[in-house]
Symmetry: C2
Subunit: 310 residues, 2 copies
């Protein structure tokens, strides 16, 4: 058996994924746990760490450990300052934050990134920088990337570095509207209805100013249901399509026509990623998919660049 | 004392207002009650009606009664079909829906309005048609009107008739985001912070495509707080400004430049109306205010036109 060379953790708000990796980046073992930051009682991050990866460290106490994700936020284990954009694997590796645990282990935290957009507004991310580094391992070092999620992120890479990114609150808005607004009342079930989804997506993508923006278009999820234009079983899919279509339209408006024509690389493997691919197809934008396990690949690449494997 | 000629009810989802009116439209007496549709146990609308206006009817059993608002919706007392736009006081008065109560009273329900927008989407309202009729009593019979609320309504009047309207889910979105989203976590108190409100409003009004639309801009309420650009005490006002600014930008995009330059008439007297006036001023759009009690004036006008006072 190949020898383990690295322990890599992708530790987010609602997920915990650990990888035992060899010196060439191949995964030897992996663990997932219901141990996202929000799920850990009393903030006992070190206890969680010891429980989940302690057995690997018992066998090889000198293994370097690298961690990225929301675990470096104010609500996480150790708050690590953001690294400003543009930043690529070299800047990120140089900014690794070394932390000694109470048990005497050394953990290397990957910093998140910050940005001042051209309009002066700040934006931030934690964890996605690592996925982008991973997605770039076998790709050209420029392009537009989309990471769907509760807060979906669009990123532009230039010369191997993240030059720009933007956060869209699409997933969270869908959840709160479905659960807490009048739009939720007409929803009958969550089963995917592709015709309703596409109808919503087309309306979200439509650039017509006469249709207003999202505050106005949202109400269509209610009126189409009221008028019987869509069934109650289709309202949830319609709303999802409307929000994803609106996001894609907003995001494409933020980038150059050239970037748009070159297409978007989707990162991740969830059903949500397939939905975004559907919306990008409706928008006439080419879409590709990054190889799986972008976070594990990115953690390895950052550790390698930072000299942790020597 | 002048003789009562009409009982007029403005009966909405969360409010109940009753007016005793003389033959010239002057209010002789008024009652408000915590008896909106959502607050009535078991849907006992007739019981509520008898309790609130029964005493007036005891003294004058032949008084005509006119009612408008969400009480005519599927969740209300009697569902009344929508009247299609364009519609003015004459069309509305002709479409009054006569209903005999179990106690033998006759109640005249004002129908709400429906519309197919140029983009094919339906829109609906109940109650606002009456406020517009009231606001038109002492105004030119054309213009753009704005009725703030949980679902804010913009309406265009031409030749005394409501020719177009649109619903914006601004108020409801503010409530659900504040209570149920990550944006609510940074909020410290609800006191109005005008600098933060105006900052949000300016960003919402900004037409720059590079700033994205609402899904992207919403996240600024979090990052500005995270970065210390606004205090926790200002986050709620910033979010409110951002949403109102976004609505005004969306709505102005739906109407002609001419309509925009002629300005907007605000209907209502809440603090929210003052906030919209502030945002319209930032947008450089002239704003006027309709006289108070637009609903009562509209109910009288519709009753008069419909021959109920004869």
């Amino acid at each position: 058996m190949t020898r383990a060379a690295l322990i890599a953790l992708d530790w987010g708000t609602t997920s915990f994924r650990a990888y035992l990796v060899d010196s060439r980046g191949a995964t030897l073992d992996r663990r997932t746990a219901v141990a996202g930051i929000m799920q850990i009682q009393g903030g006992d991050f070190e206890g969680t760490f010891e429980r989940e990866v302690g057995p690997w460290l018992e066998r090889a106490p000198d293994l370097p450990v690298i961690v990225s994700g929301m675990i470096t936020s104010r609500q996480g284990w150790v708050e690590v300052p953001y690294l400003p954009c543009p930043a690529g694997v070299h800047e990120i590796a140089r900014a690794l934050h070394k932390h000694a645990t109470a048990r005497g282990r050394t953990v290397h935290f990957v910093p998140g990134l910050s940005l001042r957009a051209p309009d002066g507004m700040p934006d931030v991310l934690r964890g996605e920088e690592t996925q982008i580094v991973g997605a770039l391992v076998d790709r050209p070092s420029a392009g537009l990337f989309l990471l769907p999620g509760t807060h979906s992120k669009w990123l532009r890479v230039e010369g191997g570095r993240i030059a720009w990114f933007a956060t869209f609150m699409t997933g969270e808005l869908f959840a709160v509207l479905r659960q807490h607004s009048i739009l939720g009342r007409l929803i009958e079930g969550e089963a995917h209805d592709d015709a309703a989804f596409q109808r919503g997506a087309r309306y979200g993508l439509d650039a017509g100013a006469q249709s207003g923006g999202l505050l106005k278009r949202l109400f269509s999820a209610r009126t189409l249901g009221l008028m019987g234009d869509i069934e109650g079983t289709g309202v949830s899919s319609y709303l999802s399509g409307l929000l994803l279509g609106s996001e894609v339209r907003e995001a494409l408006g933020c980038v150059s026509a050239e970037a748009r024509d070159q297409g978007v690389v989707l990162v991740g493997g969830s059903e949500l990623v397939a939905r975004y691919a559907e919306v990008l197809a409706l928008a006439g934008v080419p879409a590709g998919h990054a190889a799986p396990d972008a976070a594990a690949r990115g953690l390895f690449r950052i550790a390698e660049t930072g000299g942790l494997l020597e």
